[in-house]
């Protein structure tokens, strides 16, 4: 309970901070629209040359793209900024300030930052999802919606765990700004359903980097492909990843020497 109210306080401060810079809101809208247009061009080019991509039709792929944008917005609003700050702290030795606080340090480093304007992508992604669902031929039912929301939440947890493990490598390797690029590159694979990738890559995108669970599985829920078994697997994997991330983080902190503080 105390941790929740702590997270809420940080969230509020983050929002208040961002509200000072309102022009950024419009710039974010412009940038999100540019990204959307580029995505649509890519989709349109593919369907200019073919009628279906490995069993996925155009509206179904639009749904995948919507989830991709939505989840990307969530990551950039709540997960990535925290991890970037953690990277900086490890490099500069200022992580001391987080470690000396009388609450679990993992919670602190995970909730300190929030980028309100990135929520534009969440809304835009939701819009794309709705547009796609309206164009689907199959009926969209309440269980589908429920499955979608659960899958989305589990996907978010997995991405967080993955990011935390990636960031924790900073305790051993110091200069890791390139990690952001690494993550964004791999996350971009989620723009398409993972079933189109060759086996080895699909395996990697499912278990090493949980892009499949973050984007494809929620999109499967939207397009009536999701089985209860997949959802159960997602739940188990999320729990496993969470424990693993916790372990890696603890090992990392033990290795931290507070370079200059």
């Amino acid at each position: 309970m105390r941790l929740l109210s702590l997270a809420y306080t940080y969230l509020r401060v983050g929002i208040l901070n961002e509200l000072q810079y309102r022009v950024n809101f419009f710039i974010q809208i412009l940038q999100s629209l540019i990204a959307l247009v580029v995505g649509l061009i890519g989709l349109w080019l593919v369907f200019d040359h073919t009628t279906d991509l490995n069993g996925w039709t155009q509206p179904e792929l639009l749904a995948v793209m919507g989830v991709f944008i939505l989840m990307g917005g969530l990551i950039r609003a709540a997960i990535q900024p925290n991890m970037m700050r953690l990277l900086d702290d490890v490099q500069q030795g200022t992580l001391d300030f987080a470690l000396t606080k009388p609450v679990d340090a993992q919670v602190i480093v995970s909730v300190r930052e929030f980028r309100l304007w990135q929520v534009v992508d969440v809304i835009l992604g939701l819009g794309v999802v709705v547009a796609a669902v309206l164009r689907l031929e199959s009926r969209f039912t309440l269980p589908d919606l429920l499955g979608f929301l659960i899958a989305l939440a589990l996907g978010g947890v997995m991405i967080y765990c993955f990011w935390l493990m990636l960031t924790s490598t900073a305790f051993w390797i110091i200069r890791v700004y390139e990690l952001v690029n690494l993550f964004e590159g791999l996350y971009a694979a989620g723009r398409w359903p993972v079933s189109i990738y060759p086996n080895w890559l699909r395996f990697g995108l499912t278990f090493l980097i949980p892009v499949a669970f973050a984007v494809t599985v929620p999109a499967e829920a939207l397009t009536g492909r999701l089985t209860p078994l997949t959802l159960l697997g997602a739940g188990l994997l999320a729990a496993g990843l969470f424990l693993l991330a916790r372990l890696v983080w603890r090992l990392g902190v033990r290795n931290y020497s507070g370079a200059s503080a």
């Binding site: 022009v23 710039i27 412009l30 940038q31 540019i34 990204a35 247009v37 580029v38 061009i41 890519g42 080019l45 593919v46 200019d48 040359h49 073919t50 279906d52 991509l53 490995n54 390797i173 200069r175 890791v176 700004y177 390139e178 990690l179 690029n181 690494l182 993550f183 964004e184 590159g185 791999l186 971009a188 694979a189 723009r191 398409w192 189109i196 990738y197 060759p198 080895w200 890559l201």
Partner: protein
């Protein structure tokens, strides 16, 4: 002249030493970058197979060649980012560089050129790995290999000029990220980075002909994978030279006006 040569050689040597130290960071960067072409490659190979083996003149094998060569060309395309200019100008870091008796741009060009040497070495095993997995059809002639090696450096210079120009917009306004993103989006679509230009509709191809983008991306790739006639190969180098010339000219003009507006904020 010797002064410049010395400057370039020393700077490049420094870059090589620095970047080899950070080889793991460099590798992370590359692996992240390789995801992009692999995605395009998988999507378009799938399309090609669905269309009975080829689409827009490309088979799965030649798509593989296109996107594997893509990875090296993309690496050559990385230059001092306009966001770096933004920081340089906003934080006043440029003041320090202005004190040197040499144009700051030389510093960027030399350092990144040195870095490229490290990048090429690090790229080779990755390229071998990708080739082993995706089985590209690639049989370049000697002329094609020669043109390719000049063309990747031409691409490097064109993009250096273009992004420096873009970065220098920060002399006039400090909210530039939206402008930068618009540029990158146009570049993505019109350069051959997203798909080979032959897959684009006619009118897009014609539009791209008037712009510099494809000379930094599509052309170097196509020069190696055998998509061009000898005339087009040599003509392409000429076009690159033309765009480098235009770029240098514009950079000088914009620099002259921009630097007057620079007031070393925050230093």
């Amino acid at each position: 002249m010797k002064r410049y040569l010395d400057f370039y050689l020393t700077n490049m040597k420094t870059a090589v030493l620095v970047e080899f130290q950070y080889r793991w960071a460099n590798y992370f960067y590359m692996i992240g970058m390789i995801a992009e072409p692999v995605i395009y490659l998988v999507v378009w190979s799938t399309v090609a197979e669905a269309q009975g083996g080829q689409v827009g003149g490309y088979t799965a094998g030649s798509f593989a060649a296109y996107y594997i060569v893509w990875t090296l060309v993309r690496n050559m395309n990385i230059v001092f980012t306009p966001y770096g200019w933004e920081e340089r100008i906003q934080r006043g870091r440029l003041s320090m560089e202005l004190l040197r008796p040499i144009h700051p741009l030389h510093n960027d060009v030399a350092f990144f050129a040195g870095w490229k040497l490290v990048v090429i070495v690090l790229w080779l095993p990755l390229a071998a790995f990708l080739a082993w997995i995706f089985k590209p059809t690639l049989q370049p002639s000697l002329l094609e290999v020669g043109v390719f090696f000049i063309a990747i450096w031409g691409a490097y210079l064109i993009r250096t000029m273009a992004l420096s120009l873009l970065g220098m917009i920060t002399f006039w306004t400090t909210r530039v990220s939206a402008i930068f993103e618009m540029y990158f989006a146009a570049e993505l679509v019109l350069s051959g980075r997203l798909v080979p230009m032959s897959l684009m509709p006619e009118w897009v191809q014609r539009l791209a002909g008037f712009l510099p983008f494809q000379w930094t991306f599509g052309y170097p790739i196509e020069s190696l994978i055998g998509a061009l006639t000898p005339g087009e190969l040599i003509g392409g180098l000429g076009m690159q030279a033309l765009w480098i010339g235009i770029g240098i000219l514009l950079v000088n003009v914009v620099w002259r006006f921009g630097i007057r507006r620079f007031s070393a904020v925050g230093n």
